[in-house]
């Protein structure tokens, strides 16, 4: 957590203010019983109404001061903790945005989301409650003890026995309960899993008449979860009554021994009442501290997870003095490129050399795991290569800025990812282009027909993850997005696979015109998609197994032939 404290620095004045205010509040809280005692000792016993009114109004003033201090402290702590969370969130988010795919994969998307949201919220809450309670509890217990001792040191010995007892009690119950809470979470996850599976597989389950079996699985998981939950709560049931009992018995002890002290003249009646109040303050503070301590491990875990993100240095950085890129032609060249994924035993791509020029369509084909998509990721510099070089217009992509490189590339990925927002926003995706250009891109991508059928056309909202449109429609929008800024290099990574053959053919015909002067790289598994490419690169297990046109490869290349034969019947190949 240490490093994260660094982010609290800008708020040190506010924190100091909050702590001071908390202190004021503690002092007033501790002063009030003294005043009560005076009212009893000197006012009520003597029937001195004027004195009572005088002390009473002082009490009200003190109480008001305490109340105001408390509200002001709360104001400060709410603001500081929220601001701390804001700063931290922004730091984490912008850090993650700079991550290369390698760092991103290392953490995983889900984990990064949790680290940016839940973990930070967790810290915010701990800071808030810390400023509110953590500062108050020790002050209160120390102050309470001082006041108690100053009232009657001998009677204060009662706390020496009670406080360790109370602490032990909470620790013992906490030790038993916390692992059970974790166990409960695991069982809940399992219950969720079982149900989610039976929801996604509903057709198969019904087709195979296995509803009863699935129901029993669920009931088993439910039973398991319920049993653990009941156990957790039953263990925790002891906590509150036991704590109350200790506190109440302490009060009885104070009254008994206090009575004796009064009898022997060491103490006054009002002081006894004040003493009980101090006792309550001390014990409640101790309970608060124990609960805070129980929260701490979780907060520390969150802090650790956040620090991990912030401490990760992005691997891929722009050069200090980048080569300026103005007019790019888009000539792509791979020279003996070898690349392995971090931690992998064998390279994903080995000794790859080829070039793809403007006005040319280069197709890449190969089975799953042959390294096709990796190749496109390297060209976009999502990863840095181990050896060799990737050049665009003769310049190594590592000597230009990532932004310059990517600005010239139009990329349509295998999985069409869309974002919530209008269709227009999704096609533009941050680019500054006219409506006419958006419509043009949609036309080429064969998307206008379905867009016209949506309620608001280009202004229609896409739901998060594009859930409200079909896979093929998503794919077409993703293609339009790659076209709208008229890049010099196009990469279509298996993005035609979700389209039916007819749309696929139409789209490629329209694309031909649009991309005439650009470098086009198409990655595909379907032979019909790529058979007319100017050059086809056949990849197998990360190596180039052949480069040539459809006819050339069909005549000479065994790997290519095998792929083609698995997809077409013989008469169609000719």
């Amino acid at each position: 957590m240490g490093k994260l404290f660094h982010y609290l620095k800008p708020f040190r004045l506010s924190i100091a203010a909050a702590l001071t205010l908390v202190m004021v509040r503690v002092l007033t809280e501790l002063y009030l019983p003294t005043l009560t005692a005076e009212i009893v000792n000197n006012g009520i016993t003597r029937g001195d109404t004027a004195y009572i009114i005088a002390i009473g109004s002082r009490m009200l003033l003190v109480a008001a001061l305490g109340g105001i201090a408390s509200i002001a402290a709360n104001h400060q702590s709410a603001k500081v903790s929220a601001a701390f969370a804001r700063v931290l969130r922004e730091k984490v988010f912008s850090q993650v945005e700079n991550f290369s795919l390698h760092e991103f994969d290392k953490f995983g998307t889900a984990s990064l989301i949790t680290r940016t949201t839940n973990d930070i919220t967790q810290l915010q809450m701990v800071l808030l409650f810390g400023l509110r309670m953590m500062a108050m509890a020790p002050l209160m217990s120390i102050g309470g003890i001082i006041m108690a001792v100053s009232l009657d040191p001998a009677l204060s010995l009662i706390f020496v026995t009670v406080l360790p007892l109370l602490f032990a009690l909470i620790t013992i119950i906490g030790r038993r309960g916390i692992p059970l809470f974790q166990k409960m979470q695991v069982k809940l996850d399992n219950l969720n899993l079982v149900l989610r599976e039976s929801l996604t597989g509903i057709r198969v389950i019904r087709a195979f008449n296995r509803e009863d079996y699935e129901k029993q699985r669920f009931q088993g998981a439910n039973q398991d979860y319920t049993t653990t939950t009941i156990k957790v709560h039953q263990v925790m049931s002891v906590m509150m009554p036991a704590m109350m009992l200790v506190m109440n018995l302490t009060t009885i002890g104070i009254i008994w021994f206090g009575g004796l002290r009064i009898d022997s003249g060491f103490m006054q009646v009002g002081d006894l009442m004040a003493f009980i109040q101090y006792g309550m303050h001390i014990m409640f503070s101790l309970v608060a501290i124990s609960f805070m301590l129980m929260q701490l491990p979780r907060a520390l875990a969150s802090a650790h997870r956040i620090s991990e993100v912030l401490d990760t240095v992005p691997e891929i950085r722009d050069p200090q003095v980048p080569v300026p890129i103005e007019d790019m032609r888009g000539f792509v060249e791979f020279k003996k490129v070898t690349f392995s994924y971090p931690g992998a035993e064998r390279p994903a791509l080995y000794n790859i050399s080829f070039s793809a020029g403007p006005g040319q369509v280069t197709a890449i084909i190969g089975g799953t795991g042959s390294g096709k998509s990796t190749l496109s990721r390297l060209l976009l510099r999502f990863y840095d290569i181990d050896s060799g070089s990737i050049l665009v217009d003769g310049v190594d992509i590592r000597s230009m800025t990532q932004a310059d490189l990517r600005a010239k590339v139009g990329f349509a990925p295998q999985q069409a990812i869309l974002f919530s927002g209008s269709i227009r926003d999704n096609i533009l995706f941050g680019k500054d282009k006219s409506d006419a250009e958006v419509v043009k891109a949609a036309e080429i991508a064969q998307a206008t027909e379905f867009i016209a059928r949506t309620p608001a056309g280009f202004a229609s909202e896409i739901a998060q993850g594009g859930k409200n449109i079909s896979g093929g429609q998503k794919q077409r929008l993703a293609i339009a997005r790659a076209l709208v800024h008229k890049p010099k290099i196009y990469i279509f990574d298996e993005c035609f696979s979700a389209l039916d053959f007819k749309t696929d053919a139409k789209l490629r015909a329209a694309l031909k015109e649009e991309t005439a002067g650009a470098t086009v790289i198409i990655i595909a598994q379907r032979v019909s998609t790529i058979r007319d490419a100017d050059q086809i690169i056949v990849l197998e297990k990360g190596r180039i197994a052949g480069i040539g046109t459809h006819e050339e490869l069909l005549a000479t290349n065994g790997v290519y032939k095998e792929i083609v034969f698995s997809q077409l019947s013989e008469e169609e190949i000719a």
């Binding site: 009212i39 006012g43 009520i44 029937g47 009490m59 109480a63 008001a64 408390s70 509200i71 104001h75 709410a78 969370a85 804001r86 795919l101 998307t109 949201t117 701990v126 809470f181 979470q185 899993l193 929801l199 996604t200 597989g201 057709r203 198969v204 019904r206 195979f208 079996y213 439910n222 939950t229 709560h233 039953q234 002891v238 009554p241 036991a242 009992l245 018995l249 009885i252 009254i255 008994w256 009575g259 009646v269 006894l272 009442m273 799953t368 990517r406 990329f411 919530s420 926003d425 995706f429 941050g430 998060q464 298996e494 015909a509 019909s528 998609t529 058979r531 007319d532 792929i563 019947s569």
Partner: protein
Amino acid sequence: MSNSYKQQKAPGLRPRRGVPPMALPVEKPHDFKRSLFRLLQYLKPHLLSLSFVIFAAISGTVFTILSPRLIGRVTTIIFTGMLDRLNQVSGAGIDFSRIGKILLLLVGLYLASSLFRYLEFFIMASVSQRMVYDLRNKVRTKLTRLPLKYYDSHPHGDILSRVTNDMDLIGSTLQQSMTQIIEAIVTLTGILIMMATINRWLTLITLVTLPLSFYVTAQVTRHSQKQFAAQQEELGALNGHVEEMYGGHLIVKAFNYEKESLARFQTINQRLYEAGWKAQFMSGIIMPLLGFINNIGYVLIAIVGSIFVTQGTIALGDVQAFFQYSRQFTHPIVQTANIANILQSTIAAAERVFKLLDEEEEIADAEKALNHFAPRGDVRFEHVYFGYSSDNMLIKDLNIDIQAGQTVAIVGPTGAGKTTLVNLLLRFYDVNRGRITIDGVDIRNIKRSVLRNIFGMVLQDTWLFTGTIKDNIAFGRANATTKEIIRAAEAAQVDHFIRTLSQGYDTVINQDASNLSQGQKQLITIARAILADSPILILDEATSNVDTRTEILIQRATAQLMKGRTSFVIAHRLSTIRTADLILVMNNGEVVEQGTHTQLLAQDGFYADIYKSQFSTTQAG
């Protein structure tokens, strides 16, 4: 980009027990009374335990209420003893034997009170969780009776959230809030009674502060609810943005979108900050405010009480008891305000669960429906009309006649509604008009479970569950022997692969089945269908993401599977289509053409169009 994330409930965002809560905004139920009543019905089986819980809650609280009075009495004894001594009354002093007796009684009261509290919590934990357990099972049973239409029209996350989040809320409310309500009511009335029996005037003074406390609580709660709702909304927006941007990291980077993404994040983050600190601030001021009001009451009691003490109309200890009672007042008031909100959310959650329980069920099997049926596999569609909604008929007057052992290929562009026919055959949906027969028997006259045994299915969406490979294959026939399972795997060309795994057939398929490739999953589902050995098959040919060699294995396995069975194939492969006995061409949900390959080509319609664009060599590419 704007956000429609509000309604979504990410399970991970639910405040867990034991975590300082980011308090959720209150949702309003539709019909509070009726739903509450209905929810309470589920407590009926636990009536006995419940009455004990209520008894324990009341007793525990009553004992707590009695104690300040007793402590007050002790104070009075000490006070009068000291006073007498001051006044030099002979033999005066504190009567410790009386104090001792009272304190012993107090010890007894506290012990009993804690014991009752403990029993109350202990029993309530079990009662509430048992009730939720039953309710959860009830919902699960209901899910088995819902038609597929329900699943198709409700997001899975929504159903999941009802079974877990909503149920958990109901459970914890029952467990905590129910007894808290009882305690709050008993405490408030008990304290009032105690105070009234001590001194009416002091009681009246205390009561002056009561409406003020209620008013402040209500006002602050109302405002803080608003702020919490705002905070929750911004938090949802922020989470949504983060999820999208991280989920689409590749795209964000490829399109240089980082700056826009960060700018948007900052805007939401700033709004979250504003809403967040206000919500936390509001939630934190209620106690200081009430504390202050309480102190006003305190001083008033001190002033008036001291006058009474000097007049001798009240004992000092009773004033002290008053002090304590007035202190105990605040807690139940705040609690009641909280519970009112929690209860609203809980009833809203219960209503969501009830809504699911009230959904219309699948039409029951006909009374005379066949219990046994072993058909050869002739399938006929006779004048079938069907639409997912009655005003939009997708299938109009469809007539098909298929002999046992024949193959029907269903072709058409993506989204053409090819699964509709599958839905009708398995009676996931019923036809609107006409009938579908198997060996001449209307499928509505066959029990659903029997009907579905007739069909074997291999879907593109290869559904496997977490469990061993063996169990996954045996899914189609629960009582299959290991030998039969292996034979099925062999026929499906997957035996060799399974044996290369470290645990062989006992290898556990993990969540999302990520330890298997797409092609391997496909083969296992084929093995499953082979083992089920059904006379009629429904097959969905895999299209992409399978490498060439696996593709060949799958083709071989499929051929093996189709041998001698009537097969409906959602086809993508030309060889399957050309050899099919009947091709159904679908577009926009409708069957637009039917016939054999040669017939359809001769028709030169939609099919011929697709065929040419797909396979002709002269096309532009």
